[in-house]
């Protein structure tokens, strides 16, 4: 009897341990996926407006810019719950703990990313390659400002 009880306790505690942090890990997984997807779309835009402008395809660039804007507007902030700097998604999160102490700065970079991405979607619709290139650079700067401020260097 005692043995069965001990076994039950053991199973209960170990499964609790296994589930602990699962919500955080899931948040990290979602946000890593979101940024990877945005990066894929950014790569397409860069290819077509900067690296090989002769391949420029207006519809594809609009689709890519809309996808980046959709990621930016999806409410990513809710994926930055407490403890997610220590969680592991597809790989260990590189979020700095400072992120949680400097919420105003974090909000600033997040708002800038949303603003510039929305502007990129607008500019993409115009089909003006030069303007798209300039605006693309501004979006990339907002990515960098967050990497510089809130991401641990590997």
């Amino acid at each position: 009897m005692k043995f069965k009880l001990a076994l039950a306790v053991l199973i209960a505690t170990s499964s609790t341990a296994a589930f602990a942090g699962q919500a955080e890990d899931q948040q990290v997984k979602f946000r890593q996926s979101a940024y990877s997807f945005a990066a894929w779309n950014c790569a397409k835009i860069k290819k077509q407006v900067i690296e090989s402008p002769e391949t420029f395809n207006k519809e594809q660039v609009i689709a890519a810019a809309n996808a980046v804007a959709a990621v930016a507007n999806s409410g990513l902030g809710s994926l930055y719950g407490a403890g997610t700097d220590q969680a592991t998604g597809w790989k260990k999160s590189r979020l700095k703990a400072e992120f949680f102490e400097k919420q105003d700065d974090a909000k600033k970079v997040a708002v800038a990313f949303v603003k510039e991405s929305n502007e990129l979607a607008k500019v993409a619709a115009s089909g003006d390659v030069g303007a798209i290139k300039t605006q693309f650079g501004k979006v990339a700067e907002t990515c960098k400002s967050c990497h510089d401020g809130f991401r641990v260097k590997d």
Binding site: K47, T55, Q60, T134, F136, K138, E141, K153, D154
Partner: protein
């Protein structure tokens, strides 16, 4: 009675000032990011070319450009610190700085060639390594930059110290190539010649060409959006 001798040959001076310009440009473009990151990459490859040239020149250049002529042995450093060093060119402490700067810069640009910024930029040799290694080299690139920044501060502080305290201007000779020394301490220096310069330049240029153009052949498959299906 003093005489003027040549310490820095023209290729060495060109190397120095082009490197100074390129490093400043690389720092600015790297800090700003955005679309300037592509220029950061190009400047980095240019710096690789400069370093390759400097290494070759360290073996075939004129006397004071050669590594062997200023290699800082403990005996030389001790003599220098006691005020007994009588040579020309890089003094033993300056030589330490030269090797440190060259080594750190080589690590920095070497790592940068394989780096990525997780935005839309990859170094020209990114395709030769997997993403995880590229991420680690990107980290090394950032870390090494801090070391370089420290060395640059030291480099400039040392120049100011020599001018202010030791009344010894190091900048003018790096522009003119010449220093004035007491006649009894003048030594003749070997010259390098145009042919050696042209060969060194050609090898450096070839390295730059392979890195920037050869990379296309081993880069990962592009995202090929043009051939993408309509959905």
């Amino acid at each position: 009675m003093s005489v003027t001798i040549q310490v820095w040959d023209l290729p060495l001076r060109l190397f120095h000032w082009l490197l100074a310009l390129a490093v400043v440009a690389a720092i600015v473009t790297g800090e700003v990011g955005g679309n300037l990151i592509d220029w950061h990459g190009r400047i980095g490859v240019f710096i690789v070319g400069l370093l390759v040239f400097r290494i070759i020149w360290g073996f075939v250049g004129s006397t004071h450009a050669r590594f062997a002529s200023f290699f800082p042995t403990p005996a030389k450093i001790t003599a220098y610190l006691k005020g007994q060093w009588q040579g020309h060119g890089h003094n033993p402490l300056g030589a330490l700085s030269v090797f440190a700067l060259l080594g750190v810069l080589a690590t920095l640009v070497g790592a940068g060639l394989f780096a990525n910024d997780d935005i839309a930029f990859q170094g020209p040799l990114f395709g030769l390594v997997d993403k995880a290694l590229s991420d680690r080299l990107s980290g090394l690139h950032a870390l090494t930059f801090n070391v370089l920044a420290g060395l640059l501060v030291l480099h400039i502080a040392a120049i100011v110290f020599y001018v202010r305290v030791k009344k010894h201007n190091l900048v003018v000779p790096m522009l003119t190539g010449k220093v004035s020394v007491p006649k009894d301490r003048a030594v003749s220096v070997s010259k390098a010649g145009v042919l050696r310069f042209v060969v060194a330049l050609a090898i450096s240029g070839a390295v730059v060409w392979v890195i920037s153009n050869g990379a296309q052949h081993f880069a990962p498959a592009p995202n090929a959006p043009v051939a993408a299906p309509s959905w």
